[in-house]
Point group: C2
Chain length 603, copies 2
């Protein structure tokens, strides 16, 4: 393999020489800036052998460097051994980002190339500004990457299908989009992100792992909605009827560039620089007389505000998903008690199989994190590439499982940390502090429209009290049978104080504080929540909200130190467990029912 | 007066016509973007008669509009009556900002003018981008404003003086500045903000009300430090010696433009777009071969991190300032008990006089907010323009006083809300909720480097519990014998998650939650605090901090409902009051000593 990689990098350097480039950047991105890459855009994996989900490769004439964050440092070192590619530990003290590294290491007047389809306009502009400051040129070059990969897989032709569960009609969604588009001073809107297109058109597909979307662009004008899509995908009569009924004009994906350029002639088009690749921007600037208005795409905000019907379906889905978790834990319990050893990958498979039995299940919503012991101290651990540790009955350790499902009735995401064997006092203290943080958010009353950064602190305070903290955000938005990570609202110290990022009813967010003791164990407790009006305060100065917890699954009571908790916090646990029991018991096998009763005993 | 204003606007319109402008913008800003305007840059006041500290005027050929925020809505309506200038309530629902209004109301191809000295580069760029989107041109025009004001006052010639209390030597400060300048890729730094220049040069002046600074620019290169300053101001021998000793080259302020343009020839100059006016930017772009690097000025961060010596002096200053407050409250108490009526302006004067008796006092650090009853519901009330309400013994109301002093040993800022007569239950509930928020921050333990936005929530939680909130931030930075409002760190929902905005030891910040019941009363309790390492947690995962409260003044115990408080919170009040008593009693007159003993009785 190292020789294959060396040959591929050599081929890249030949192409760089032909185009007079001194460096070339490869990102983990595709023209639609998807969170999960389609196979045929995995250029970084092809060129390096690295299989992690996030990295940036910089190849110069003499050397090659791969930046990746802490969750992949070890994996990258292992997978890149012998290739001559140096791993740069992104986020470590004193390690410059790729942009800064290029600034500092490339001579003035040098040429740095990138495929403009693999970078958002926003990131391209930032990089260009940084490099220009040092007299370095950033060159957008299409086609070079494709030439390097002769056996590159074809794009998926998976069929598109109509999806209307809980959805408002397309014309209602379009009316809202057009209203926001006009408020931004635009008469058209070009959308490149697949979740937004799926939401707007009430269609779904299977081009990407874990997210039911299909490759497309969409163009909204005052009069029309154009959908640029592979004609192979929409041959189904129901889809054709749906397109016709909703006035959606399908245009061949392959002909999108010319059609977009001509449809936008003399138009004022709204483009989201964070969600449209640089090649599209360049197309409009060079080949069209369109005037570009930069701004957040309205679909991002609109699809984050779930309809009442979506929330109702999601509440049902939570029962299915919670039942799957209970079945899994009961089965695991049984296997361990029999003296069996189960590996992390086996557990992920068992859990997948339990979910697959549930009503409406389509796929996992992300690659499950199943982590035993010290592996759980890595917040984004992947059992397949991380070592696949075995678990047995008397291990006296923690097992952290973060997983979720795509159901046609909604998307789930849940994390539980459970005890295997006996707990140390430190484990209990840490688990209880995380739980207190989780409960603080679950019980919080806050003004409608608070920023996610304001709510984040509530979760951390109990951790700060024991001198701890965690490096990730508290919560992310979750789509409805769409991406498990969805903007524009998040609960994080870095959540922006922007109008579209305010916490309001209709959102679905995760509540997932954690605590990670490197080399020992990690803890995370995650439920999905939705903000609802708080009617308890009659004298409030303004509308107040609190969260309704949606996820239904027991929380490990063996790790709770009630002495650290207030009566209100203890009541929350018992009340939640009572609800979990009542909602899930009717759905469970006898084995799982028995397990759940024990797991939700009063504390 | 209305006729005078009409004439002045007419003169402006004639100038606009000469320059073919369709609209003209007047800001409340000067070439150094000072918080407090020097007299000779009060163009907006000259043209409108409006005396508030913040407004934006837009004059078109047919009409004129003045935008100001809620604290000035009433005052603007009163002062602009009969002038034909329409007041726009900035921040009210549905009221567009001046930029948006221009976007929506000026036809395409129209010309909008502004004096580029009166707007930061950052604001100019934003406005230009917004207007360009609609095909409107933004024209920078210098000289027009000056031609309108024949009797315009001369710029201040107040002398500059050497200031070394608690200061590191200039060469140490310069070394730190140059290091950060180089890290930003620059070989020079142009500074326009007066506080930064005063800090860097260890000089002070008296050109601006409430802030001991002097009009200047400074240019730092690898080899030199140029100070552009009126030669009249630096005639003092001590100043000349200080400049010589520290290698500071004084250049006549009037000759700055040519000198800067030539000194920056072929240089890479760091400029802070938020703190340099557009005229300076344009100068460098047009008349110099300098390459501009946009970034935060290093002096902003460096001067916010107080030296140990500055903090020691500030602790002494707090005793002086606290003593002045006690003397004032004792005297007020006596006057009211005698049956006297005292107005808000009289109280401000009394308080100023008490401060003026204290060691090192130079001036107030801002115009004191002294607000009786419903006036206190306006967070930025000004008694001079707000009505000057009288106060008497049996008013059964709240008195809010927010004030501070500039001492040669530091700058203070303190707010107390006191009861006059009897309290309602609602007053006590509200006061106690605010106090609980204040205490939450005073007692918080948090990771070193937390963002101000993270800490802000701690203060709000007790208010959210009673359905309340407040519209301003929790805290701002405070200079050392410099501006009472200082960046880059603040405690606010909108505080940015930027590296330079992290909370670290050395900062001086305010802790000032409030609660405002429109038409009834307002409450605010403000102390200055400084973050210090927390050594109590031996098992902490990372360095933790807590705040040391610096301000020394009693908090109104008659408004505290102990039933709403935890024992820890009650202990904090009693412990703080004990410290206040111990520190202040030795400095007080018998009258004030007696008052303080009563005011700090145990709760």
């Amino acid at each position: 393999m190292p020789q294959t990689i060396a040959n591929r990098l050599q081929a890249l350097r030949c192409e760089m020489q032909k185009e007079a480039l001194n460096a070339w950047i490869v990102t983990c991105s595709d023209p639609h800036l998807c969170e999960y890459l389609p196979e045929n855009w995995m250029f970084l994996r092809y060129l390096t052998g690295f299989t992690g989900s996030y990295a940036t490769l910089v190849v110069t004439r003499e050397a090659a460097f791969l930046w990746t964050d802490s969750r992949y440092w070890e994996q990258a070192a292992r997978q890149l051994e012998g290739t001559g590619i140096e791993v740069k530990r992104l986020g470590a003290a004193g390690v410059p980002s790729p942009g800064l590294w290029l600034q500092q290491n490339m001579p003035a007047e040098s040429e740095v190339g990138i495929d403009p389809q693999t970078i958002s306009e926003q990131d391209f502009r930032r990089l260009e500004t940084a490099l220009t400051e040092r007299g370095i040129h950033l060159t957008a070059s299409m086609g070079l990457l494709e030439r390097l990969w002769p056996e590159r897989p074809e794009a998926s032709h998976a069929p598109v299908y109509v999806f209307t569960n809980g959805q408002k009609p397309v014309n209602e969604k379009l009316a809202s989009v057009r209203k926001m588009m006009r408020a931004a001073g635009a008469d058209s809107l070009l959308i490149a992100t697949l979740e937004d297109i799926a939401w707007l058109t009430n269609l779904r597909g299977s081009d990407i792992a874990c997210t039911p979307v299909f490759r497309a662009y969409a163009l909204v004008t005052d009069e029309a909605l154009y959908l640029y899509v592979d004609p192979e995908k929409i041959k189904d009569a129901a889809v054709a009827a749906h397109l016709a009924q909703n006035g959606i004009t399908a245009v061949d994906y392959a002909k999108r560039r010319d059609h977009i350029a001509s449809a936008l002639k003399d138009r004022r088009v709204l483009l989201d620089p964070a969600a449209v690749n640089h090649a599209v921007y360049a197309l409009l600037e060079e080949q069209s007389s369109a005037y570009v208005i930069a701004g957040e795409r309205p679909t991002l905000l609109l699809k984050s505000r779930k309809s009442r019907a979506e929330l109702d379906l999601l509440r049902q889905t939570m029962r299915e998903d919670g039942a799957a978790l209970c079945e899994f834990f009961a089965l695991l319990d049984e296997k361990l008690k029999k003296g069996e050893t189960v590996t992390e990958v086996q557990m992920a498979q068992m859990l997948h199989e339990e979910r697959a039995k549930r009503k409406g299940f389509v796929s996992d919503s992300f690659e499950a994190i199943v982590a035993v012991g010290e592996n759980s101290a890595l917040p984004h651990y992947n059992p397949k590439t991380g070592g696949n540790a075995p678990l047995a009955q008397y291990d006296d350790t923690l097992l952290l499982i973060d997983s979720g499902g795509q159901y046609t009735t909604g998307t789930t995401d849940v994390t539980r940390t459970v005890l295997i064997g006996r707990a140390t006092d430190a484990m209990k203290t840490d688990f209880t502090a995380v739980l207190r943080g989780h409960i603080a958010l679950a019980l919080a009353v806050f003004p409608k429209g608070a920023f996610g950064s304001q709510l984040d602190t509530l979760v951390r305070t109990p951790l700060w009290e024991i001198g701890a903290d965690f490096g990730h955000g508290t919560g992310h938005g979750v789509g409805f049978f769409l991406s498990v990570h969805e903007g524009p609202v998040s609960i994080s110290p870095r959540a922006p104080a922007r109008e579209s990022a305010r916490v309001v009813p209709g959102l679905v967010l995760s509540n997932e504080p954690g605590l990670y003791r490197e080399g020992h164990y990690g803890i995370r407790t995650e439920n999905l929540v939705t903000p609802v009006p708080d009617e308890t305060m009659l004298t409030a100065m303004q509308p107040m909200l609190h969260f309704e917890t949606l996820t239904l699954a027991p929380i490990e009571t063996q790790l709770i130190k009630t002495a650290m908790m207030t009566p209100v916090e203890i009541n929350w646990v018992n009340g939640y467990h009572q609800r979990v029991r009542e909602e899930l018991l009717p759905l469970l096998s006898p084995r799982a029912a028995q397990w759940l009763k024990r797991a939700t005993e009063i504390i």
